[in-house]
Symmetry: C2
Subunit: 244 residues, 2 copies
DNA sequence: CGTTAAGTTGAAGTGAATCAAGTACCGTGG
DNA sequence: CCACGGTACTTGATTCACTTCAACTTAACG
């Protein structure tokens, strides 16, 4: 189900960001920023930075994808999202100077440009308007975090959590076609790490959904065949109206 | 354990915010802002706004406390935090125009000033520097959300979750004294809603901690008597080194 | 002093983690 | 082309922590 490590899937992608940092900057500010960037290629599965580290630079994902996660010492991991090209990694921390909240790791070979925190801060001094863009970025991160808190905190059953994730993923790829289909490019293990369940439970719940004719799986393409019912499962209507 | 509904506890408070929106504004901007405010008194247990609503104004908590939560249709609730005086409620939503992420409800009689979204936006046009403050506010919210995601997503057992919460609360009140004691002013039910467990489990786990001599409870004052051990429980070192 | 909300405690039920064993898939090299 | 090794996925059995339910005690407050 995972695609080859060398290819970057081009189907529906998990985390489309409505607003992007750079689009709202003036052309002048943008070229100013570009002069600060240093480009680099990273192989897959490279740790870009670890949660808790003091930020020394900010990264801009140019090509590839990066897994953003929170980790425990025991090896448990919670995936917050998958960063896509044009996304800025570590923006909040770089600006505030506080330790990184999350860990970033490349999933495929990535092209990434970096700007030292020093340069980044002085850029903001030259272009204070950029704070508006930064604000918008963090707002988005915050929204996503709240959404995930809903999944982890309110959706008690694994079914509800997975249903929510699938619907969220499906909604994410609506740019190309607002269809009920999208490509899963995470392993069951990683899916489990998104919603805080075990690998096996993901398998079982996904099968369960198929048997109930809520979804169909063709290779790594998932089709939501009964969105209403799936939403009923996802629906934060947990208490006791369990769909039979 | 809950204090009287008319009195606002003055002990260690849960959610101290390092930075505040207004302190970083110029005196001129601040008085400009004040001219936009409309003050109001609200009784306890008043819904200030609901998650999903379209923001029409921004609120500044002047006196009292407000519970910030995420709710499900089924009545399940996840408490994100308790807002204290000087905190701005709904800032992100008011600026972006997106629906409120959370629900805000007064816990005690509150004095709250409000600024219409219209006025708020024009204030930002007049004082674009305020975006820097807004950025800092959202960053803090984001950090808190990540912290809670750690608790909900990585700390599997109820013990770990509660231990984390207690340590967090204890750390919050370090301004007055960095002591190992603080006042609990939430009910067991509300504590459960902070960490996603049931009321009964909070009781049991708290008793368990006392029997293990990790904490002591005197009225509504909690003393952490064995911080190391408590941190071991909290410690995101879950896998299998369960402290015996 | 009586009413209501909060806390306590036990017993039963359950969803999901864990453990274990096996299968499918895929790229590699013989 | 097939054997090989590694990874991902599947499936069943067992276990356990927590929820739920229920009955009860305690505390708070007019």
């Amino acid at each position: 189900m995972r695609l080859g490590c060398e290819t970057v899937p081009n189907g529906a992608l998990q985390c489309s960001r409505a607003a992007e940092f750079f689009t709202s900057l003036t052309a002048e500010a943008r070229s100013d920023f570009q002069s600060l960037e240093i480009h680099n290629d990273y192989p897959g599965s490279t740790i870009l930075f670890l949660e808790g580290e003091t930020p020394s630079r900010v990264l801009i994902l140019r090509e590839g994808q990066s897994k953003l996660s929170i980790n425990s010492i025991g090896g448990k991991r919670l995936i917050l999202g998958i960063a896509r090209p044009t996304e800025i990694l570590g923006l909040t921390s770089a600006l505030s100077g506080n330790p990184y909240e999350v860990t970033a790791e490349t999933m495929y070979p990535c092209n990434i440009s970096s700007v030292s925190r020093q340069d980044f801060l002085s850029f903001f001094l030259r272009h204070p308007v950029a704070y508006q863009s930064a604000f918008r970025e963090v707002s988005l991160d915050y929204s996503r975090a709240c959404e995930q808190l809903r999944t982890l905190g309110l959706a008690i059953t694994a079914q509800a959590k997975l249903a929510r994730l699938l619907l969220e993923w499906c909604a994410g790829g609506h740019e190309t076609e607002r269809d009920n289909r999208f490509t899963i490019f995470l392993t069951h293990e990683e899916i489990g790490e998104c919603i805080g369940t075990s690998r096996e439970t993901v398998t079982r719940t996904l099968n369960d959904f198929q048997h109930r004719l809520l979804v169909e799986l063709h290779g790594s393409t998932l089709v939501i065949s009964n969105r209403i019912a799936l939403e009923r499962y996802a629906g934060i209507n947990l208490t006791r109206d369990r769909a039979s």
